[in-house]
């Protein structure tokens, strides 16, 4: 449980200024930061307001019950405060959280939501706020090791103050899931250390004959492969700035640190390979990703390495999502005559058209006789 939260004062102050200049009665948005379980502290680096949804509606609005007040945007303090409560489009906020979390780097996450509202409307809306937080948590969760708590920051406009609550996620959330949490402003961004890792991956998944009968798309296979790969990656050793990481210390030097990941020799390329099985093809997912992580000076290095690894997996998954999204938009037929024979097999499996679309022209290899798969420049399953 995070006991204290520090917000980056420069960014949060800017947000507060913007909110007070605006005429909004209520606003909801996401908190970007990190929750450190080792330090039992939370850090909020910035606020991102949830934009209007596709229908042009704001994500959060004030709902009046007693009086019929058409004056939208009025911050009149003479509202019958007892019955006003917030109306939040929680699915929209969750979608916002999903997209934003995809863009965040290692260690950073959507750690909760903030709400700009009056004291009374906040008090009357705890249920809907909890539900929103839950939806946001589900949407933003990318890794299994996410902490099961999120923050709720209330920026009250009169009196002007920031309060923070800690919300424990569970299947059954009530207002008692919210607990007050210490909150203060400070300088957190400047003291962050940055870790960068360039990672080259080369995943090869054999597609077995029997899995052709189940209608698993290739993207399902890849997603599964990435999950297995994540386990392999977790046990990888790391080097920081050229030195092997052996003990778990805090990083003393500032500036950008280069992280290199070391995996067991010849063990990590072939995912889910089982012996003596008939295969109908191989799925290859290769490339490089550049991943970042930021560390508070008091956190141990192992946190940075774990964050980098998490970021890599997150990147792989996002890339896969992007590739699939793109493929759904392109449905060009294959014009490669060689594939006709295997079309029959392919029809049994719905594959994203992407796959045929991105096949390149291969040059045949010298030992052509043994090439069952034409591969870019090397023998399949070797090297």
């Amino acid at each position: 449980m995070v006991k204290a939260v520090v917000g980056e004062e420069t960014r949060l102050q800017l947000a507060e200024d913007r909110l007070s200049r605006s005429s909004l009665p209520a606003e909801v948005g996401l908190l970007i930061g990190k929750l450190s379980l080792t330090l039992d502290r939370g850090f909020v680096f910035d606020l991102v307001s949830t934009p209007r949804n596709d229908a042009g509606q704001p994500a959060c609005s004030l709902m009046e019950t007693a009086k019929d007040d058409k004056k939208k945007g009025s911050k009149s303090k003479s509202q019958p405060a007892d019955s006003s409560s917030l109306l939040i489009d929680k699915d929209w906020v969750a979608e916002h959280a999903r997209q934003v979390s995809r863009m965040l780097v290692g260690g950073m996450n959507v750690v909760g939501i903030y709400v700009w509202a009056s004291e009374i409307s906040f008090k009357n809306s705890t249920m809907v706020l909890c539900q929103t937080i839950k939806a946001v948590a589900e949407a933003a969760s990318m890794l299994e090791a996410d902490p099961d708590e999120k923050l709720l920051i209330h920026i009250c406009y009169s009196p002007r103050r920031w309060t923070c609550r800690n919300c424990t996620l569970s299947s059954n959330m009530t207002s008692s899931s919210l607990r007050p949490c210490d909150f203060k402003m400070g300088r957190v961004l400047t003291s962050l250390q940055t870790f960068k890792c360039l990672y080259n991956f080369d995943l090869r998944l054999p597609i077995y004959h029997e899995s052709a009968s189940t209608s698993q798309t290739l993207s399902d296979n890849l997603r599964h492969g990435i999950s297995i790969y994540a386990i392999e990656l977790r046990s990888a050793k790391a080097m920081i700035d050229g030195k092997l990481v052996v003990s778990d210390e805090t990083c003393t030097t500032d500036g950008l640190h280069e992280v290199e990941l070391l995996l067991p020799f010849t063990q990590d390329t072939y995912i889910g390979a089982c012996s003596q099985k008939d295969i109908i093809g191989v799925l290859v997912f290769t490339g490089s990703v550049c991943s970042f992580a930021h560390l508070n000076s008091k956190e141990p290095i192992s946190q940075a390495i774990a964050d980098i690894k998490g970021d890599i997996i997150r990147s792989l998954r996002s890339r896969l999502d992007i590739l699939c999204d793109e493929a759904d938009g392109h449905l060009s037929p294959s014009d490669d005559g060689n594939r006709e024979a295997s079309d029959e097999t392919l029809r049994k499996k719905p594959v994203p058209q992407l796959v045929l679309h991105s096949l390149r022209v291969h040059s045949s290899i010298e030992t052509g006789k043994y090439a069952i798969f034409h591969f870019r420049d090397e023998f399949l399953f070797l090297g």
Binding site: E260, T266, R339, I372, F373, F379
Partner: protein, 641 residues
Amino acid sequence: MKNRTIRVLCPKLLINRNESLLQWLIGSPFLPPLTIVSTIRCIHGDSSSPDYHKESEDIRTLLLKGFDVIGALVMGDSDFENKARKALDAARRLRKLLSGTEKSENEEMIGAVANSCSGGIHFFISKTEKTTNLEPVSLVVHDDNPEKYVWENGCLLRCQLPIKLPFCFPVNKPSDADNVFLRAIEVVIANFKDPKVAYIVESSSKTFADVAQPVLVCGAELSFGIDLPNVDLLAQDSEQKLLRCAHFCSKSISSPASFSAENADVLQVSILFNRSEKFLKFNSPVAEYFPAMEEARLLIVDFKLEVICYAAKDLPLIYAVSKLIIPGLVDQLNSMKEVMLPHLLTQHPKLHPYHFNPSRMMLHPVTVIYELNYGETEMKQVDIRKSLHLRLGLPFDRPLLRITNALDFSTTDSSKRNSIQTGSSLVKDVHTTIPSSSVSGGITSLVQGSYEYYHYLQDGLDDSGWGCAYRSLQTIISWFRLQHYTSIDVPSHREIQLTLVDIGDKDHSFIGSREWIGAIELSFVLDKLLGISSKVINVMSGAELPEKCRELALHFENQGTPIMIGGGVLAYTLLGVDYNEASGDCAFLILDPHYTGTDDLKKIVNGGWCGWKKAVDSKGKSFFLHDNFYNLLLPQRPNMV
């Protein structure tokens, strides 16, 4: 021409005096030239025509990297120089095959001819391959402490590498599988030299106060061209400070008696792949599907490589990796590949390397790759071990190359790995200082070999009243350990109980209990933990025991193992009998596990805790109870390899 000296470190240079004998002489580039560390016999072919191919295949994985062939020895009564020349030619040829190079070597090598009658050996050296003139050497030095010579400045490097090799072949043309497999292996071998490979070197012992941190040697730093003997010069010339093996070795001064392979510092090397090496081109992620052109099957071959190498402590790590570890792994991989190839599509042989330090005659360990599919007692495995015993000059009645006797590197505490040598606090061979029995005119038959005295209250365990048979079993197992029939640790009471539960003889509730065990249970444990079989003798009454004396005497003559006698509420260890067949007078040498005092030899002997007990003493009292039945456990010494 200054006089050269040949230093012979192995205690016995001539294995036997067979006419067609050819022995390879083993030395090391880390020891001074012309130092013979050990010798191994040529078993394929004979001295006139050795089967070089088979010999090099065997020796390639048997001999640790860091040792090499420096000469050969043959038998001969005359014409010594010519015979020596033949021996040298053979040695050079084998050395070339082992190093895999065709270029002529300029190593000095030794040709030796042993006279079958006198046993004297004539030594000659040849400077290079080209010179036809041999130089006789008369100065031959033997060393007082050969182990110190080899291990004072030497250490071991160990690398374990499991490899999963997947490859596929067309279902309709299974014969193609072989070639695909071979190509796949070639790629793995080439990958060892990939600059993106990272070798992590660390000390495997955690007992030093100042353990050095692991060091990473990256593939790009390695250099493969230079020959080992020239490394020294290069290392001294180089300006950069190269990290050496000594960095990971114990800095404490060891006593001269403790130098040995078992006590050597072991450097652990792990192999990883750096996935963050900067590519020249940044490839954005791409997913591609490659459908099979024809029906294909995926096959995975599992290799468990494990090499150990001998290195000088001041060898720089980059050469340790490039000249010792990598060639060792490559040779092992190739050797396993040959065994796998015929069985690629059927059941894969389960190959596992083991390292042995078989006897005091070999100063260094050897590596053997065993096929474990059908167990150790399978005929083929027995034959393999017999030929190894022949090659290494080991006796044929000791199972020195059984897996239980393999070197165990998993214990990070090197002193634990070797408790026999460094000695424990237990008293050994208590019976040697006791007064003789009072049987006159009897023939004494005693246990052969050393044992340790186990008794009540040792190891902080209060087993008085119930642990006597357990202690007797511990004494027996210590005998098997000291005779090198096994290298497992002497089990604790709990481990003995666990074994009996494991085999189904006892219920789970037996563990942690104070239940007694008897001869039968001991025989089960000896069988399970050591593979030893035993004979059991039952007598209905203690009065019958003297009748068994002849049988017991024969046991001590032939087997020489300690015996456990259990009867009534007591168990003893029997170490010998003194038997006068004519008079029937007999005495039993009893080692009593009920002793609760300290491990002080004098106290033990003076208290009679080890002594001759007559069946009926001078006062007419019987040592063995007449109204009890007794079971005797006679462990059988395995007389095989």
